[in-house]
């Protein structure tokens, strides 16, 4: 069951329809063959599905219509991210969106249409949600420097290199670009992007709120992921028989399952409030940190406990439940780990309301 994280009746209905429409691309009950098929390959994504995603108008969903976007808000974006998360799609939906959000009105039409996949390269440390400096621009607009942990970099047509003072658009095949690619646990990959005098198009300085949107969308993806992992696990508890009865009859497992349902409910509630705060335009950093920290911890708890509920079969690669755990491991630290966000919450909290 997908959660609609919106209050207000009209908007609620709009988000509900959007979620329904997502089922064709990102079904909650489909098999995971294509996910398995793309694992550990390069570029590791399905360009056909990427075109479908853009055809649905999901790219630039938060950009104003004048900038070629859909003019919708965080509630709609989060809802789609939740479906993409639940479907374990490997396509870098949130990353591409982040690049578009960073570029805003500068976003090129080919990026919005999905024809040119632009991925953001902004991170310079193993953890955080803070823009970094360290990109040097030489005369003639050539840039040098490096960015770490660029997800799905091998699939990119272009990179948006982001620093505190500016963004630069570069072609992935431009001279001076090199990638050090590492496989990620979910079958995707992550890369260090090294720039050595690369020809670049300089754009405006990035809007840091784009990172808040990415963090919230990731929290939503984690919510979708844990909801589906839990649903699969409940089915297993109802059907797997040991000692002459379904294991879901055992009270100790029942009580643990309830604790997971509570974690999911908490995540959904916090995310709802966070999305609402984002869309009202208020400073949403504290509640974004709450949402991302809760979602990361809850998703890890739910998916690792889901593996435990599955017993030995859950520890094999052939069981789908492990795909959810491995994706949770990859998404949990993205756009700031729970620990990072707890620290940020503390540093943003001075006194009490």
């Amino acid at each position: 069951m997908a959660a609609v994280l919106a209050t207000g009746e009209d908007r609620f209905e709009g988000v509900r329809l959007l979620v329904e429409s997502a089922a064709g691309i990102a079904p909650r009950d489909g098999d995971l063959k294509t996910v398995r098929h793309l694992r550990f390959g390069r570029p590791g994504i399905d360009r056909g599905r990427w075109s479908e995603i853009s055809a649905m108008g999901w790219l630039g969903i938060r950009l104003p219509e004048t900038a070629g976007g859909a003019g919708l808000g965080m509630a709609e974006y989060a809802a789609l991210a939740g479906e993409v998360g639940a479907a374990l799609l490997p396509e870098p939906f949130i990353e591409a969106q982040l690049a578009l959000d960073f570029m805003g009105k500068d976003a090129p039409a080919e990026a919005l249409s999905g024809d040119r996949l632009v991925l953001p390269a902004w991170l310079d440390a193993p953890d955080g949600l803070t823009l970094a400096g360290g990109i040097a621009e030489a005369a003639g607009g050539r840039i040098s420097g490096r960015r770490r942990f660029v997800p799905m970099a091998a699939a990119a047509d272009a990179f948006l290199v982001v620093s505190t003072e500016a963004c630069w658009l570069i072609d992935a095949k431009a001279a001076g670009v090199s990638l050090e690619i590492e496989s990620a646990l979910d079958g995707g990959h992550t890369a260090t992007l090294i720039l050595d005098g690369v020809e670049a198009e300089r754009l405006s300085a990035p809007d840091a709120k784009a990172l808040e949107a990415a963090a919230l969308a990731t929290a939503s993806a984690l919510l979708g992921l844990m909801e589906r992992a839990f649903a699969i696990t409940l089915d297993y508890l109802k059907t797997r028989v040991q000692f002459g009865q379904p294991i879901g009859h055992f009270q100790a497992l029942q009580h643990k399952a309830v604790d997971l349902e509570i974690e999911i409910g908490l995540t959904r509630a916090v995310l709802r409030d966070a999305v609402e705060t984002f869309d009202t335009g208020d400073d949403c950093r504290r509640i974004t940190s709450r949402a991302k920290a809760r979602a990361a911890d809850a998703a890890m708890l739910v998916t690792r406990q889901a593996v435990q509920f599955h017993g030995a079969i859950g520890y094999t690669d052939e069981a789908d439940i492990g795909l959810f755990l491995r994706r949770a491991m990859v998404l949990a630290p993205r756009y700031g780990s729970a620990g990072f966000h707890r620290q940020r919450y503390a540093s943003l909290t001075e006194g009490r309301p």
Partner: protein, 391 residues
């Protein structure tokens, strides 16, 4: 923009929902500071009704006694976000808990299931403080297994005759009325054949004996019924349909017990304790983590409070709210003992800081996972009725 409205003295019974949240908070804060009886600030034990009555009456006159009731019945009809602000401000000021069974349970129950006559008679008397209510649910052999209750009600002419014993009746010595679950069909299956009655405590045959709790406070009572005769219209709902009403009432109780009120008060206590010990810095990370958990719990609370406000019935999933609040409250209370050192061994208040009483906070947090259905029972309910894991 927010500073010019005169918030120091909000009008009694005014509709405060249109105020922006920040203004509402300022109004509540100012009004409490101006109105709260200082001698009742941060009491180390739950007050008896007579002790709490000055504050009860002040809230009554202001129209703030029943923040969650609809305005048409004399409540504030507050949105969940404003309800949370009100809870925060009251807990932080150290406002005492009221004898609130009428406000949190009987009122919502009668609004949903009472007759017009019951509503007309009882709601104003709850709001004025004329009638303080208590609850007659548990029995010595029917605690977690509430439906095993044996107190009986037999119809004789135009009266019901009640016999039996109730226990764990909070503030039972202070109440004027009690609501009672009693068995009206001894041959029916366990949950069938139970009915729901309203009984004045001064009816002949009712006796009350207080029980000392673990914190040595006479918070509870046993209530004995010996041929207690009440009129036919003292029933709520239909005969033998009391279990349904009781379950519905448990929904309200779980929402109330799931409110962040207790955790807010405890976390405030912990913060003040750390400050008193000069260790706020050492425990900054602990305090921040608990604060985030509490704020998350408030979001969870909003989920359910919103439903009530929309007029929906609370389902079995509200048990999750109570489980989470109990766990969080006890976790905070546990940390209070961790931090307190020898101050946590004192039976009373800390001598040079009388609003601190860490040991009592810890002990008072114990029953929250027991009363209103233990956390184990709540998990059974959710597993079976929400997750479908029953046999």
């Amino acid at each position: 923009m927010t500073a010019t409205v005169s918030l120091a003295a909000p009008q009694p019974h005014a509709d405060l929902n249109p105020l922006p949240d920040a203004d509402f908070r300022a109004a509540v804060r100012n009004w409490i500071a101006a109105s709260y009886p200082q001698e009742l600030r941060s009491p180390p034990k739950r007050l008896h009704a007579a002790e709490a009555m000055p504050w009860y009456r002040i809230l009554s006159q202001q129209g703030w006694l029943a923040p969650g009731w609809p305005r048409q019945y004399g409540g504030m009809g507050l949105s969940p976000s404003k309800l949370l602000i009100m809870i925060e401000e009251m807990e932080r000021y150290g406002c005492a808990r009221l004898p609130d069974t009428g406000l949190t349970m009987v009122g919502p129950l009668l609004i949903a299931h009472g007759t017009d006559a019951q509503r007309a008679y009882h709601l104003p008397k709850i709001l004025s403080g004329e009638i303080i209510w208590c609850q007659g649910y548990s029995e010595p052999d029917a605690g977690s297994d509430l439906a095993a209750l044996r107190t009986s009600a037999v119809r004789e002419g135009d009266q019901w005759v009640i016999n039996g014993q109730k226990v764990w009746t909070t503030l039972g010595m202070d109440a004027q009325w009690i609501f009672v679950l009693a068995r009206t069909d001894p041959r029916a299956a366990k949950q069938k054949g139970i009915s729901f009655f309203l009984v004045p405590m001064d009816t002949p045959g009712v006796t009350v004996r207080s029980i000392l709790n673990i914190d040595l406070h006479d918070e509870f009572a046993e209530v004995f019924f010996d041929d207690v005769r009440i009129p036919a219209d003292a029933i709520v709902g239909e005969v033998n349909e009391g279990w349904t009403i009781a379950k519905n009432l448990l929904g309200f109780e779980r929402l109330f017990l799931g409110s962040p009120k207790q955790s807010e008060g405890a976390l405030d206590h912990l913060e003040r304790l750390c400050h008193h010990l000069g260790k706020s810095g050492d425990y900054a990370s602990l305090l921040n983590g608990l604060r985030m958990e509490l704020e998350d719990h408030k979001s969870f609370y909003t989920t359910f409070a919103d439903r009530v406000r929309r007029g929906e019935t609370l389902g079995p999933d509200v048990s999750m709210l109570k489980i989470n609040q109990s766990a969080l409250y006890q976790k905070i209370a546990d940390r209070i003992m961790d931090v307190a050192g020898e101050l946590g061994t004192l039976a009373g208040q800390v001598p040079d800081a009388p609003t601190l009483y860490p040991g009592s906070v810890f002990l008072q947090a114990r029953p929250t996972s027991i009363y209103g259905g233990s956390s184990e029972i709540q998990r059974n309910i959710v597993a079976r009725q929400v997750l479908g894991l029953g046999r």
